[in-house]
Amino acid sequence: MTLLIDLLAATLRNATPLVYGTVGETYAERGGVLNLGIEGTMYAGAFVGFAAALATGSPLLGLVAAVGVGLLSGAVMALLTVTFGANQHVSGIGLTIGLIGASEFANRLIFRGGELQRIEPMPLINPLPDVGPVSAVFSQYGLTWVAFLLVVPLAWWVLQRSSFGLEIRAVGENPEAADAAGVSVPRTRYLALMIGGALMAVGGAFFTLALLGSFTLDIIAGRGWVCIALVIFGRWRIGRGVVGALLFSLIYSLQFRLQILPGFGDLPFELLLALPYLVVIGALALSGRNVAYPGAYLKPYRRS
């Protein structure tokens, strides 16, 4: 029983960065731009958030700094792919390499590879402390609550129900039509990429500001790529993407707990570690057929 409660709590916790990343990437892709800069943006968000929090002593200011770097990263991606019409794959991978490189360089410069620096991480918040043993499930970081209670419903509402969301979807489906209807394609894509970038960076900052309280190399460890897969798994729907993130996180959290269980101990732990990724690959292979990509996916738009 405690194992199950512990597992549920871990699932929500570990899903948090994936939710931010997946929602952010969904915004970029619904606008017609595949942002492979996500891995680097999460990395930079983690580092800059941590550095700012350490310098100011305030995790909240760290979060603000992470949002700033995410907006900037989205704007750079937009500059490359929207303004210059560059290839989206190359721009995104380049952005990721650049941001990871810059973060590691700055890390060396500032901390000189000395002993691990720590900050006081954001506290856990439990709004339901008195509901018996289950209450442990609700002991979560503020960023987790914000993700599930604020960001997801709001992002969904904006995308599906607001005029701005309609413009993002139109620009990603048929930019010519959006242009002819008087929507500025570049402006809309810039905004979608910047909002997306900010969310990704917050997802990265979750590791340093909340979960770990410190910055280590390779801290994102491919979670940005997982988000790319989750967007496809969710067929560019925010709700389905979040379900995917929870599913991945559930298996991820489960395998850690299986490793210590008798009977499973004999299995090579690498196999268990690979389990969530194998499940994602399997789910993609099954659900990835006949998916309707956004109509203008990967296509730059230019007026003649």
Partner: protein
Amino acid sequence: MAGVPGSAPALELRGITKRFGDLVANRSVDFDVVGGEVHALLGENGAGKTTVMRIAYGLTHPDAGSVLVEGHEVAIRSPRDAIAAGIGMVTQHFSLVGPMSVAENLALGRASGLRLDLDAARRRAVHAAERFGIRVDPDARVADLSVGEQQRVEILKALARDCRILILDEPTAVLVPAEIEALFATLRSLLEEGLSVVFISHKLGEVRAISNRVSVLRQGQMIGTVAGSTDERELARMMVGRPMLGVERSAGAPAPSEAEPVLRIRDLRVDGAHGRPSVEDVSLGVRGGEILGVAGVSGNGQTELMAVLSGMRRPVAGTVSVGDLDLTGADPRQMTAARVGRIPEDRHASLIPDLSVAYNLVMERLDDFRHSGRIDERAIRAHADELIARFDIRASPDDRVAALSGGNIQKVLLARVLSRDPRVLVVSQPTRGLDVGATEYVRSQLLARRADGAAVLLVSEDLDELLALADRLIVLYEGRIVGEMSAQEADREQLGMLMAGRGRNP
């Protein structure tokens, strides 16, 4: 019903010039339209009609010239500026977002910020239905609508923005006769409200039916403006710079013998979406030296029939044979080997737009140009030069197909197919979107094949084309043959009834 004399035109274009690289698409073009009038813009493919009006709507930026609305010069940098100035445009290839609903398309671009008022969009749709008879379901997904309905959504979109000048770029190209009538009725009621309409077309009959004035563009230059009642010969002469002759199956041609059909289809059945068959119980035969016309509103099984005959789709039941050869479920290669020439409806999908004309011309027979694994570039070029001359393609062998005009793209396809001397020719919408010159050429080539003894199956939505070319006609409705007649005894009205599904058995 032209505007008050002396008052400024609703829209005026002055000295519009636009170059694409070396090509001058518009050369100092002047054009105006006054309130309550339809001013047609006539011209061949590539004359520059679309370009000049895209400039008026802000979709293309001119190199020189100015746009005046109600006599005042306006700076039009984007469609947003044009919409603000009261200009609306229904583009040649519709600008709708397919996966979205009609209401969402109507709401798009109306307000910036967060508030999205779909109810207002629905109300506008209902209101327009009452006032102009434009009926569409606001909650339908655009991709599920027929082209005629999509066009109504486009017009509605422009009207919902309170446009006073409506530009229609070849609005009838995708419509069937009944839909064209409905469009014209809508336009007439809009004119009474004082709207001005720019009507781009290269169909002379329609231009005469609806226009107060007609302006003719030729190779980017304005040739002149005449009254809408000017006779067709004169308009055609202005358009192409020479008098036109109609191409028709000569009345004296020998009636096809009672010989065995070359192309034979028996009890064909093809599955469509939602488990319903899209072609059912279709049996037909086409003899050598005969053109069999397939009439019908698009979406009644023509596409699937063509797909089977092109080797792109397997039938569920039935057989296809050419001579003694069974070609049921054959792939494109086998079709080519059996000398079945195919000119499908979507010509862009049959060519590789990014490759050169020369390569596209040898695409189906690369083996003939390969020696021990190496491509013989010289032979490919020589072959291209020969076909370009023979089929009067206005392009050089190295041009990318994507850069050619519609008429020349069709000629490339025609050259590729006809140069193989096909025994059977299956053709769909061969002249859709082509100007009179190119249309005449394509039709004469089909008739030449017929004279050489080929069996020709011609799918077309253009009744004039079918009546001019075919020896026999069949009508497809909901995947079945609902009528068959010889071209002599065919009459338009009866064909129209059959096409609309109001045939013999109600």
